[in-house]
């Protein structure tokens, strides 16, 4: 008399799912939906989406020196950099224009890898929808530049390594410019 028992077994399975969906947590057989705008899944630290520029305090102290390596390396050619000039018409080692077309960027992270000045990194922001591709998705220098504190918050491990490296480099530089033992005045 096992006829029909499989049917009942199947129905008990679905009934159990129905009941546990009300009383159990996500990983214990409950509902696993994440109600997106209100709830968010925590993004992994190394999650990378769209590049941004790091500055130390203000937009004037931007780390980028407009060398243009990222511009050249970018596979989709979505980066456009122009170097600023100072009052005498000499290159100022600062970007006058730094545009990234988010509509073109494919989040490969090449720019982050090639940047020798620890200036461009991949962000966690993924909600970049816009009504006009040609207008809203081209981000300029002011939009792209974010403080170092933001970088430390979003990707703490990488930021700590970078900060250490920069500090060490700074100290080395200081040591090189200043003589090791102060010379006595003659």
């Amino acid at each position: 008399m096992t006829f029909g028992m499989g049917v009942l077994k199947g129905m008990i399975v679905t009934l159990k799912n129905f009941v546990t969906s009300y009383f159990c947590k996500r990983n214990e057989g409950g509902i696993f939906t994440i109600q997106y705008p209100e709830e968010r899944e925590k993004t992994a630290e190394n999650f990378r989406n769209f590049p941004f520029l790091v500055h130390d305090g203000s937009l004037e102290k931007i780390r980028c020196v407009a060398c243009g390596i990222c511009e050249r390396e970018c596979p989709t050619k979505c980066i456009h950099v122009e170097m600023a000039t100072d009052a005498f018409g000499k290159p100022a080692r600062k970007p006058a224009v730094f545009d990234i077309d988010y509509g073109l960027c494919m989040n490969c992270g090449m720019c982050e890898e090639v940047c020798p000045f620890d200036s461009i990194f991949m962000d966690h922001a993924f909600e970049v929808s816009a009504a006009e591709r040609q207008v809203n998705l081209i981000r300029h220098k002011a939009d792209l530049a974010k403080p170092n504190s933001y970088f430390q918050k979003e990707r703490p491990t990488l930021a700590a390594i970078i900060d250490q490296k920069r500090k060490a480099a700074d100290e080395k530089k200081k040591a090189a410019t200043q003589p090791a033992t102060p010379q006595e005045p003659k």
Partner: protein, 389 residues
């Protein structure tokens, strides 16, 4: 206290009588008769679509929970406005008619589907004195009208000029005609015992002392109910009997070529059929609006609601039947079972309760095991291939 209970029980009947007496103050008698018909008609015509709308929501919610997700919960609180949003979407969609379709029949089919679905509401006993028309052949009417549903579905599938539609329509015809027979035969015991075809009388004959003398508490009632409910699920093309609109095989079956409001009408008819068939199952075997303590219409809607939930539960559980299994199930299993059930009913009618129970349980067990044995599919012995590696 008892007065209050009685007045809540009759609240809809009293409301209608009060409305008619209000009209009677300044209208002649024959208009009042017409108004009575119009009131019942309007209530039913509103009830059908509203029930359908919220059944879709209920189904999506329950299926969602079965699959460990929330159902629709964005439009309004708990998604309660979701059916209205769906309705607006359906109304504003483009109506597409295939170039080679039979345009008149294509247009007629969805309209004709809704008509029998609404007509069945007429004989459903919603509560004490709440049957819209107390036909003395109510059950026969129900069987006759519900079998019309095949026709519009086949019309729609034929007129679409689409091979998927046509296949769906063919399957519908085969399935619905096959399942009509065990369904009708499953109803026969209830008719035999209550000695009436009127739905109202059938409910009254299940009254007992506390309104608990339901037919399902008898051996023939259980069998009849299960067979009827399975056939009802097959009749309104709900999973696991949803071969006519099997989306993984036939795109959408008979309504592949329908869009917008025409599609919505097919959908509406399907859900209203599900409701009325559950309502009839409750009426015939679960005592209709009979029950202690609560008002009659609460009992009726509660029982119907539970049966609908079971249908949705089926949908969340079972995969689709194969065509030959489906037909075999109707003809080789349900049909003989219903015939045996009729025999048992006669035994129970004439024998004393205890003897009736014992005899019928014995007959049922024996015939059930024989039917199961006969229905077992032939599996040839496993062959050993001597020279194959």
């Amino acid at each position: 206290m008892q007065d209050l209970g009685a007045s809540i029980n009759m609240i809809f009947v009293t409301a209608k009588a009060w409305f008619l007496s209000l009209l009677g103050l300044f209208l002649p008698d024959w208009v009042i008769v017409l108004a009575s018909i119009v009131v019942s008609g309007v209530v039913i015509l509103c009830l059908g679509p509203v029930i359908m709308m919220y059944l879709t929501l209920l189904e999506r919610k329950l299926i969602g929970r079965i699959q460990n997700r929330y159902g629709p919960n964005r439009v309004g609180i708990w998604g309660l406005l979701q059916p209205i949003a769906d309705g607006i979407k359906m109304f504003t969609k483009e109506d597409i008619i295939p170039a080679n379709a039979d345009k008149i029949v294509h247009l007629l089919a969805p309209i004709v589907t809704v008509v029998p679905a609404l007509m069945i509401f007429v004989v459903v006993p919603f509560g004490t004195q709440m049957t819209a028309v107390n036909l003395n052949i109510g059950l026969l009417y129900f069987i006759a009208v519900s079998s019309i549903t095949i026709l519009p579905i086949f019309m729609g599938s034929w007129a679409s000029r689409n091979k998927y539609s046509l296949l769906g329509g063919m399957r519908t015809a085969a399935q619905m005609i096959s399942y009509e027979i065990p369904m009708t035969l499953a109803v026969v015991p209830a008719i035999m015992m209550s000695q009436s075809l009127s739905t109202n009388t059938i409910v009254l004959s299940q009254a007992g002392s506390h309104g608990l003398n339901w037919f399902i508490f008898t051996p023939w009632g259980i069998v009849g109910f299960i067979v009827f409910f399975l056939c009802a699920t097959a009749e309104c093309n709900r999973p696991p009997f949803d071969l006519p609109e099997a989306e993984s095989e036939l795109v959408a079956g008979f309504h592949t070529e329908y869009s917008g409001m025409k599609f919505a009408l097919f959908y509406m008819a399907e859900y209203m059929n599900a409701f009325t068939l559950c309502a009839l199952a409750a009426t015939l075997f679960l005592g209709g609006w009979q029950g202690p303590f609560l008002p009659s219409w609460v009992w009726f809607f509660g029982k119907t609601f539970i049966l609908i939930c079971v249908m949705i539960w089926f949908r969340g559980t079972f995969p689709r039947f194969r065509v030959d299994h489906l037909m075999a199930f109707a003809w080789k299993f349900l049909l003989p079972l219903t015939l045996i059930n009729i025999l048992i009913t006669a035994l129970c009618y004439f024998a004393s309760p205890l003897v009736g129970w014992l005899l019928s349980l014995g007959i049922l067990a024996v015939s059930f095991s024989i039917l199961v044995k006969l229905n077992r599919t032939f599996v040839p012995e496993k062959r050993d291939y001597l020279f194959a590696d």
